[in-house]
């Protein structure tokens, strides 16, 4: 029982890891918490649903198309909204992201209605392994997220683009006078956030169903994961997501399952009281 909960918790955490990574990237580089992350996840899941269910494209390819579409949507949001408000401070950008969130969510609602949709995938029998029940969706989630996390870590720590992103996160003015164009880095960051949120939207749609509130259901756990890891720390976001996923699943041992979101709120509350910089936030060198 506990082992099954731990397994489910790890997979839930992995599902949260991609949007938490997207959230922490935009926070580190663009210096504001993007409240549209949930809506971007929702729109990504609808984009994949259109490709998969309406156009009959296999889900893996549909996910790639959704990721590309969301990269474009995210860059469009930057061009139309965030880039124009960049010098107005993080509070203005935060409020703007709430507006973008409402727009994206209602685009889905007006276009496809409130009813839930499902991807066209065959129902498969779960795998049994040492008494554990492992769904195919869980395996797909684990493989996709681990691959994305490895690729993101390689991008951030072993490529010129990653160095430029970390430099802009550290000191945007200095990055500019070292030859790094801030707008280019900003656009690429939005592009990556779009791709990560779309892929997590597909995984979330497989786990639950596609509906206009899909992203909203994940919004608080995503923020809790990113804050727990230390906003701005990609490694922290992944660790934070795993901890939140485990805590939510294990909470069902002592709490009714419909109260599980209390765990995320409790984690945010505890962190604000005890360690506001999160688990990895204090690692940044400031002198």
């Amino acid at each position: 029982m506990v082992a099954q909960l731990i397994l489910d918790g790890l997979v839930t955490g992995l599902l949260l890891a991609l949007p938490a990574l997207a959230l922490t990237l935009t926070f580190a580089i663009l210096h504001f918490p993007n409240f549209a992350i949930g809506a971007m996840l929702t729109l990504g899941s609808y984009a994949a649903w259109i490709a998969n269910s309406l156009l009959g494209i296999p889900l893996a390819m549909a996910a790639v198309l959704a990721a590309l579409a969301m990269a474009v949507v995210a860059m469009l949001c930057d061009f139309l909204v965030f880039a124009r408000l960049r010098d107005r401070g993080s509070m203005t950008l935060l409020v703007a992201s709430m507006g973008v969130s409402l727009i994206l969510e209602n685009v889905c609602r007006f276009s496809f209605g409130n009813s839930t949709r499902n991807f066209a995938i065959e129902v498969a029998r779960p795998i049994r392994w040492h008494g554990l029940r492992i769904n195919h969706e869980q395996l797909i989630t684990a493989v996709t997220v681990v691959a994305c996390v490895i690729l993101m870590q390689m991008l951030l720590h072993a490529s010129p683009l990653g160095r430029a992103m970390r430099a802009v996160a550290d000191n945007p003015s200095l990055a500019a006078v070292r030859g790094v164009e801030r707008q280019t880095v900003s656009s690429i960051t939005w592009c990556l956030a779009g791709v990560l949120s779309a892929l997590s939207g597909v995984l979330a749609g497989m786990d639950r169903a596609v509906d206009p509130l899909l992203g909203w259901n994940y919004q608080i756990p995503i923020f809790a994961a990113a804050i727990l890891g230390g906003l701005g720390s990609p490694t922290g976001a992944i660790v934070g997501a795993l901890v939140i996923g485990l805590a939510e699943e294990l909470s069902s041992l002592v709490l009714p399952t419909n109260y599980r979101q209390i765990v995320s709120f409790a984690v945010i509350l505890m962190l604000l009281l005890v360690r506001s910089q999160g688990l990895f936030g204090g690692k940044a060198v400031r002198k």
Partner: protein, 243 residues
């Protein structure tokens, strides 16, 4: 200056913040190649604003900035670096969360079109600052103030600039490091780079500068060879009574 094209030429430069008035109020300047020009002045005279405007971090309201014949006035800070104008800010002049090696790599990674950037330039710069290359995996944020200043100089020089803008390189350093930093500025000039040095530490700046420009209330109050400025003149200079 006659007969020699200036490395840095500024005409009618005006700039300021937001909707406020001009902080830099129409500065004209021609600086000879391979010279050190010290820009000094009292607090609030617009020295840092002037150098930030030259670097492109602040948009000019009027005027032009020309580097070795190329008008860079409308270029982004990144494009200005590629045009030969490097800048070392006063504080936070290295990426503290990146290693020394990453700081050095990043200094040239996005300047592929810039002539002279490459292994030869790197070798030349590392010869100027041999202490920098010793611990490439150390986080730059863990360096002392003097070491960070050297790393910042090295990063700026890797871009093979024609003109190097330095904003108060001695700020926050102990007297020993101030001497080392000013010595490094001289070495940079000797390597063929034109240096515009904004300094609060006037005595230190005068020791290395070829010329001095005094800014008062955003305007050029005086421009003379450094050897013609004595310590006794300084108070009068700062209150714009000289010249």
């Amino acid at each position: 200056m006659t007969g020699v094209a200036p490395a840095l030429s500024v005409r009618g430069l005006r700039s300021g913040y937001g909707n406020g008035g001009d902080i830099v109020c129409g500065i004209d300047l021609d600086q000879a190649p391979e010279s050190i020009l010290a820009v000094i002045g009292p607090n609030g005279s617009g020295k840092s604003t002037f150098v930030k405007t030259l670097a492109g971090l602040l948009r000019p309201r009027a005027g032009t900035v020309v580097v070795t014949g190329t008008d860079v006035s409308h270029l982004s800070p990144a494009r200005r670096v590629a045009s030969g104008l490097a800048y070392v800010p006063q504080e936070a002049n290295v990426f503290g969360n990146l290693t020394i090696g990453e700081n050095l790599k990043l200094a040239t990674e996005f300047l592929s079109g810039r002539a002279g950037v490459g292994p030869a330039q790197r070798q030349q710069v590392m010869a100027l600052f041999p202490e920098i290359a010793v611990r490439p995996k150390l986080l730059a944020g863990n360096l002392s103030g003097g070491q960070r200043q050297m790393l910042a100089f090295a990063c700026a020089l890797l871009a093979n600039p024609e003109v190097l803008l330095l904003d108060e390189p001695s700020a926050g350093l102990s007297p020993k490091f101030v001497g080392e930093t000013m010595e490094a500025v001289t070495r940079v000039r000797e390597s063929g780079v034109t240096v515009l040095l904004v300094e609060q530490n006037v005595a230190a700046a005068l020791r290395v500068a070829d010329e001095v420009m005094v800014l008062v209330a955003g305007r050029r109050s005086l421009r003379v060879p450094a050897r013609d400025v004595s310590s006794a003149d300084l108070a009068a200079l700062f209150f714009a009574k000289a010249g």
